[in-house]
Symmetry: C2
Subunit: 405 residues, 2 copies
């Protein structure tokens, strides 16, 4: 089969007119000879609206029930899109996460895909139908509805593309592709024609927003050709995500800013072997992405442990941290919400000392204090004050000559 998976996000299906537009695109793709699978999100702000409804009923709704509720959002879109395609004279069928064979664990609201049985989708494709799939959702082995958490629809699209051995996976979004920085923050940011999985992965991890890291990782692991492009301008071919090539020289490819984090410090943790492990393993068990861990041995056998977490996870982890503090006899935690993570991304940049020192030098020159630093193969991140973060983003983008791409 000659399968393509195309994913359209919430903005791209936000109105009836836009859904009709996606229907036209799906038909074009079908006409171009592809067995066409479309993955869609909930319309516009539907998910937020449903969450408000839930909170009006129960401030801490059970996650299983929240997934039951939220999954109606995508289910609405798939039905409408299938109707739109039918109205244009083509055959279409909509499938929920359960119906299209996506089996997840039962970690509600952040479920992970365990397996996909693509039989139903293939059967429908063989009947010449355009197959419309509800993104963001699956079902546990006990048939309970689960959602995949943030960026879940991207994950659905890539995972289906892999399971279906698709030729490629196209992510249609409200921007033209992947930029050197967030174009809403940096007006001079430029569209990248290509980017490596690793670079995109780091940028996604750092809150670049266009794609969720899970889906990029999945595409990389399975070598699935991935294209990020505009849902509103089909003439623009967008950004192709490619295997990393040998780089002639290390080059900064993007600058990202993530303001949705919080810095937590636990002062005076007794310096015993395994005690930090104890804290972080209990947090990791909550399925929270802990980042930027800093441990300072500072006085008389006590450590200060600092780390950052996504702000949305703060309420979830607080009881666990406080239990830890009480158990080990540490001091009350310090929480700082006025922080942001500024990062540069590019294959090989960590091994080029001039790039790191250039970044730190530039931030120093702006009179901004760097509170924490972390690096990986292809990124360098700094925690700085949020009040100065946008200025820093702009200046760093300019400093690494990304405006001129």
């Amino acid at each position: 089969m000659n399968i393509i998976v195309q994913k359209f996000g919430g903005t791209s299906v936000g109105t009836i007119e836009r859904i009709k537009n996606v229907a036209k695109r799906a038909i074009e793709t079908k006409q171009n000879g592809f067995d066409t699978v479309i993955v869609v999100s909930a319309m516009g702000d539907t998910t937020d609206r449903l969450i408000s409804l839930a909170k009006a009923v129960n401030l801490t709704p059970p996650k299983r029930e929240l997934d039951m509720l939220l999954s109606t959002g995508e289910q609405t879109t798939i039905a409408l899109l299938a109707m739109a395609i039918d109205g244009m004279g083509y055959k279409a069928v909509s499938l929920t996460g359960y119906q299209c064979g996506i089996i997840t664990n039962d970690y509600y609201s952040k479920a992970k895909i365990d397996s996909i049985d693509p039989k139903r989708i293939k059967d429908e494709l063989e009947e010449d139908k355009i197959v419309i799939i509800a993104g963001f959702q699956g079902a546990s082995l006990s048939h309970d509805i689960t959602t995949l958490g943030r960026g879940g629809s991207d994950t659905t699209a890539v995972a289906l593309a892999v399971a279906l051995e698709a030729k490629k996976c196209e992510i249609y979004t409200d921007v033209l592709g992947i930029y050197t920085s967030d174009p809403r923050l940096v007006s001079t940011a430029k569209l990248l024609k290509t980017i490596s999985y690793d670079e995109l992965l780091e940028m996604a991890m750092l809150g670049a927003g266009v794609m969720h890291p899970r889906s990029v990782e999945l595409a990389r692991k399975n070598n699935m050709p991935l294209i990020v492009r505009s849902a509103f301008d089909y003439n623009n071919v967008g950004t192709e995500i490619i295997e990393v090539k040998e780089m002639e020289k290390a080059q900064v490819r993007g600058v990202t800013l993530d303001e949705d984090i919080v810095r937590i410090s636990v002062p005076n943790v007794p310096d015993k072997p395994g005690i930090a492990y104890k804290l972080f393993s209990s947090l990791i068990n909550l399925n929270v992405h802990i980042d930027m861990i800093l441990q300072n041995l500072n006085h008389d056998g006590f450590n200060d442990i600092s780390f950052t977490v996504p702000i949305d996870d703060f309420d979830t982890i607080l009881p666990t941290i406080e239990a830890f503090v009480e158990e080990v006899g540490a001091s009350p935690i310090l929480v700082k919400k006025d922080v942001a993570k500024l990062s540069i991304v590019g294959t090989g940049i960590t091994s080029d000392v001039k790039i790191a020192s250039g970044l730190f030098g530039k931030i120093y020159e702006l009179g901004i204090n760097i509170e924490m630093i972390s690096t990986s193969e292809i990124k360098i991140s700094c925690i700085i004050s949020q009040s100065q973060s946008k200025q820093a983003l702009d200046e760093v983008h300019k400093y690494f000559e990304l405006n001129g791409l």
Copy 2:
């Protein structure tokens, strides 16, 4: 187990406050020692809103996709109700039609229940949870979502009560119970303390609106104790539906009016054996309720065939009728929409000639022409002009002394 099934319709769950109210009622029921199963409809006008969305995309949406869309309405309610109960400190779990084991045929938008596997519900009840079920929906053997058509949530409630061997099934609605006539049309209509399944069935068939005939029939067949009562006034015990008792004398129990019908006449149908059967069997295959069939042998071996159908089914059956007309060489059909069906209901009334003649006499006295008549064991129906139907309803209600109950 000591199971009760309680069903709450769309008005009863129309707002967040009302959902909380239903949550309280469910908890009270649980506290009274019942294993509690709650069946709910979509909130308020959700279904109508979804249908409008569908029509905006495709004026004749495929029924499979319409069911996919509409089923989100109940799914939203069950999630919110389960959250509300959780917020009040009780355990609850919501289940879709598929999850609670309701298997239907694949006659989308009008599916019939083939079987119910109550295992999941019983398992959840045994874990001391209040179980919340999405009414109106099921799934076909191929896991496609189906809806049960009009009155579907009542059918879900009764069918589940039967499958679960429940002690009783309570239908909570926006009126106090079953009245002698529609209280919105007849201000003097009185609440009935009891009514027989058969009488209620006839009244439901005749458009009395409170309960759908399918569910009443199902309750009668399985001898399931049924109670119709108010969702807004729990002190009122409503109407109990009971096995018919020996009646001392035939008595009119209710008067109903159904204005949502259309009268169709096919003139000059050749009088050959089986020709009427041919027409009606093809209509019945469309799953349309044909009522009030009248066949007049009038001239030279040709018949006029007249019948009434629900107005909503008119578009569905029109092509079939026209094909019939062409095939047998009948004259073009005549359609009359300005008709209404006025009926009186009561066990034994057909065998009491004074009641029938009293009805016809009263209508005659009002100067209203009776276009068609049909009778059953316990009802007498007349087709009259819609413009005079409300007046007739009022007068007939008074004539049979129902005001004084």
